[in-house]
């Protein structure tokens, strides 16, 4: 579903902007990243929701695995099931936006480095909004501001190939740092929020 949403968003943007190929190439990295973040958010609410609704979370909480490990595994599953497919789809959609071929490797690398942070930060938002009705909008409000660094460095690691010389590695390394930090920290934050949701 996230893939379909990503496809639709990327397809309608050139329709809205008109057939200016230079303009499209220039804004393609930003659009690809924004579309990816929104598509990932779409399924983020489900990370813990079904377990919360059917009581599985209760049983998991009495299990021998520490809750942060469970939360981390759930976020990892979201990355594998949503993050990786979106990363694989992004270059195909890049063709629709006239993204230069030389930018494709750095786009794929940057997205691969940045999407773990997307999933793990989404996990914090998903656990905080458990049990609320219409939690999707609140989830987006909570999580999108945290995505700003990922977006900035994600786009700037692709733009040198579009608009001029710049170092690819610096933004890429920062993306890796963001992902590693969120992989370490987000499970604890999510587990604390899950404990609160169990009350």
């Amino acid at each position: 579903m996230a893939l379909g949403f990503y496809l639709i968003v990327i397809v309608i943007i050139p329709l809205g902007l008109g057939p200016n190929l230079n303009l499209l190439a220039r804004i393609a990295p930003g659009i690809l990243w924004v579309g990816l973040l929104l598509a990932a958010l779409l399924s983020a609410g489900r990370i813990f929701e079904s377990d919360y609704e059917d009581g599985t979370l209760d049983v998991i909480a009495t299990g021998p695995l520490p809750l942060p490990v469970v939360a981390g595994a759930k976020c990892l599953a979201h990355w594998v099931a949503t993050g990786i497919p979106l990363v694989l789809l992004a270059p195909v959609l890049g063709l629709l936006l006239n993204l230069p071929l030389s930018a494709f490797p750095s786009l794929a690398l940057a997205m691969l480095a940045g999407t773990p942070a997307v999933s793990f930060i989404a996990g914090i938002g998903a656990s905080l909004t458990l049990g609320l009705r219409r939690s999707g909008l609140l989830l987006a409000l909570l999580v999108v501001p945290l995505y700003v660094p990922i977006l900035i460095f994600g786009v700037s690691s692709v733009t040198p190939y579009v608009s001029g010389p710049n170092s690819l590695w610096q933004p890429l390394l920062i993306l890796c740092a963001l992902s590693l930090a969120s992989i370490v920290l987000a499970p604890f934050a999510a587990a604390a929020a899950l404990r609160n949701a169990l009350r």
Binding site: G55, D58, V59
Partner: protein, 207 residues
């Protein structure tokens, strides 16, 4: 067969507060191995809250729980099976897959015994989404047998069960107590199990 349990469980001066309202306070009870406690009382007096406190989901407003015995070093939540209003059944998986997951996750293993316990063996390969409400409940109760744990916390376990299944549940609880297990049950339906103690919540006003 797992070795008999040797856990005794003590609750001292337990109080529960929900939404700024004190549901109960000053609860004390001690359960020796093989002891059973029936939690009774009208709706909204804190039966579920007490069970969720023991399972570690709800914070205690005061007091503490303690366990003594061979496995006393384990956190109390990990000694407990909690079967509440929700069945924790994944509708996309078959009955066997559901139980296998719990046997694995809760570090048990007797999958066939668990399937037999409430007669779910003929339904083992059916998707849990197709089960009736009573069958789903039996699936949740079968979890008790998927991994041996000394303390059973059963919240209205007989809801939507037929008469024969209630008998099985009764027998299951008695078997558990015979092995030295502890059962803390909240129910409105009379069970044949001899409960050593009864805790009546919400009677302060009446008394």
């Amino acid at each position: 067969m797992s070795p008999p349990f040797t856990i005794s469980f003590e609750a001292r001066d337990i109080a529960c507060e929900r939404g700024g309202r004190t549901l109960f306070e000053g609860l004390n009870f001690v359960l020796e191995p093989g002891g059973a406690l029936l939690v009774s009382g009208p709706n909204g007096t804190g039966k579920t809250s007490l069970l969720r406190q023991i399972a570690g989901f709800l914070p205690l407003a005061s007091g503490r729980f303690s366990a003594a015995g061979a496995e006393a070093a384990t956190p109390i939540a990990e000694l407990c099976h909690y079967v509440g209003h929700l069945n924790a059944a994944k509708t996309a998986m078959s009955v066997r897959e559901n139980l296998a997951f719990w046997a694995d996750f809760l570090e048990g293993g007797d999958l066939d015994g668990a399937l037999d316990a409430f007669g779910l063996a003929p339904l083992a390969d059916i998707s849990a989404g197709l089960l009736s409400a009573g069958q789903k409940r039996k699936l949740a109760l079968s979890r008790l047998f998927a991994a041996p744990r000394p303390i059973w916390l059963l919240d209205e376990p007989s809801v939507s069960l037929d008469a024969a299944s209630v008998k099985r549940l009764d027998a299951a609880i008695r078997g558990h107590l015979k092995q030295g297990g502890i059962a803390i049950v909240s129910t409105h339906v009379p069970l044949k199990t001899k409960f050593a103690q009864e805790l009546a919540l919400g009677r302060e006003h009446a008394a």
